[in-house]
């Protein structure tokens, strides 16, 4: 019969999924967060960049390097003191005129609200 398979089903990733991982719930909400230390250092200099917190290896948060907290005064690598901005209004680099990048100058949460009133997205 043509419907029957000639081989076994192989799954390569499904059984290894850890449900609940990869959420931005782990991204700090009160400070800049970067995927690499060089990106952070470029914006803020070595003294204002922290490595990921210890003891959380394997979690999404472990991937983030931490820049300054929002709403504080920070000295930039060129020696200028600036307001560090907020999640909604990131600071401007006084030397380049560009926004400090981090992960914060991106609007999020614009999808998903319709799901709140219903049980499932599936059908």
């Amino acid at each position: 019969m043509k419907k029957k398979r000639a081989r076994r089903i192989q799954l390569v990733t499904l059984g290894t999924v850890i449900l609940g991982a990869c959420s931005n719930a782990d991204v700090p909400k009160d400070r800049y967060a970067y995927k690499s230390r060089p990106e952070c250092v470029q914006d803020w200099g070595e003294t204002h960049c922290e490595n990921p917190p210890p003891g959380r290896t394997g979690s999404a948060a472990a991937a983030y390097f931490l820049g300054p907290r929002f709403n504080s005064i920070v000295e930039t690598p060129s020696g200028k003191h600036i307001w560090s901005g907020s999640a909604e209004i990131p600071a401007i680099n006084p030397d380049t005129g560009q926004s400090m990048r981090g992960a914060v100058n991106i609007a999020r949460g614009g999808f998903g609200n319709s799901a709140n009133a219903y049980h499932s997205s599936g059908s």
Binding site: M1, K3, K4, R5, R8, I9, Q10, L11, V12, T13, L14, G15, T16, V17, L19, C22, S23, N24, V27, K35, A60, R101, A103, N105, I106, A107, R108, G109, G110, F111, G112, N113, S114, A115, A117, Y118, H119, S120, S121, G122, S123
Partner: protein
């Protein structure tokens, strides 16, 4: 078509959990292998042919709604219709869909509804019941879902630049959706597609593109999230401004709309695989079914019938509705089975059976494996 008693495997839970099928016992027992359905080969051929025929009718109905500008009758706004029309004219490809059919083994299968946009119960149909078949020693099963999904992924993204990742998204806090999504992601991976995951709520907008948590632009996107919700959400207005490849494509929003059941009957009256359906109950006599356009998982379905009235709860009560003639759903041991006939690409690819103690299949209806001989 028969419902047979079966002896459950003593270790089926552990085996399914090893596969990643973690929600097997939700709602008091979702997977049920204490019974199974047996079909004859000719019956399977009939279901397969019906699925491919309904797929053909569905595509013709989309073309009709677009050309005749009938979106308003389906509650679709002009901006939404523009997205739908663009995707249709670009031949944006589809991955899959599931027709829910009433079938008793004697009369032609009848379309109850088409889950064209975000069909689930996929891992159960593609993988779980296949493992059951192999261990049960039964003859055969209508099921080529897994390999057809892999082949379809290969063809869907061969036109993209090499290495372009496909982002996969679903809502948070829904295990069934997440597992279904990860299964689809697994089949894409086996097709050689690079994949990434981002929850739908975590997607960002950087002023030019939708981005993931790393800030990487999403250029190809599989979303297990209905188009009607996507278009209503705050970021929905950005969709027209991007060139993102979205699976399922926007034109599937028409086919997942139950108002299309009335359009289908209008275009193909008395087709053997369709039930009479209208935007008004006036032509259906004293017994019919009322379905909100965007109802999901059997919510807010009403059966108008003196002998057997039924109304399911749900949040869709205020939506426009379609009125459909009642189908003859057989009853086996007090259970009503509904056939979920899968389409992958343009081909019938298998089926799964959900059964319930009422004629309405809901999110808690059980999945029963099948075989044919």
């Amino acid at each position: 078509m028969q419902r047979l008693p079966c002896t459950p495997r003593p270790d089926w839970r552990e085996k399914f959990e090893a596969l990643g099928f973690s929600f097997h016992s939700d709602d008091g027992g979702y997977w049920d292998e204490s019974a199974c359905y047996q079909f004859g080969a000719a019956q399977i051929d009939e279901i397969e042919a019906a699925a491919e025929e309904l797929h053909r009718l569905a595509l013709a109905a989309v073309q009709h709604v677009i050309v005749e500008r009938r979106g308003a009758e389906l509650g679709v706004t002009p901006p939404q219709m523009a997205l739908i029309e663009t995707s249709w004219r670009m031949n944006a490809p589809s991955l899959y869909g599931r027709f829910d059919l009433a079938y008793d083994g004697h009369q032609p299968p009848k379309l109850l509804e088409y889950n064209a946009d975000t069909p689930t119960s996929l891992l159960e149909a593609a993988v779980a019941q296949w493992h059951w078949l192999e261990e049960s020693g039964r003859a055969d099963q209508f099921n080529s879902l897994h390999e057809r999904l892999i082949v379809r992924w290969e063809s869907l993204f061969k036109t993209l630049p090499p290495g372009t990742p496909v982002h996969f998204s679903c809502v948070k806090d829904n295990e069934e959706d997440r597992v279904t999504l990860e299964y689809l992601r697994d089949t894409a991976t086996q097709a050689g597609v690079a994949t990434r995951f981002v929850y739908i709520e975590d997607i960002g907008w950087n002023g030019k593109a939708l981005v993931d948590l790393d800030g990487a632009a999403i250029s190809a996107w599989f979303k297990l999230y209905p188009w009607e919700w996507l278009m209503r959400d705050a970021f929905g207005t950005h969709l027209a401004a991007t060139s993102i490849h979205i699976i399922e494509p926007a034109w599937k929003a028409l086919l997942s709309n139950k108002g299309m059941l009335a359009i289908l009957w209008e275009l193909f009256p008395h087709h053997p695989n369709l039930l009479p359906a209208y935007f008004t109950p006036d032509y259906l006599g004293a017994s019919f079914v009322i379905k909100p356009f965007f109802s999901r998982e059997g919510a807010n379905i009403s059966i108008v019938d003196r002998a057997q009235p039924l109304a399911t709860p749900g949040p869709y009560g205020n939506e426009p509705k379609v009125y459909q003639a009642r189908a003859t759903i057989p009853v086996f041991d007090g259970r009503y089975p509904v056939i979920g006939a899968w389409i992958v690409g343009d081909d019938a690819a298998g089926m799964g059976i959900r059964e319930d103690v009422t004629p309405v299949t809901t999110n808690s209806s059980r999945f029963i494996p099948h075989f044919f001989a």
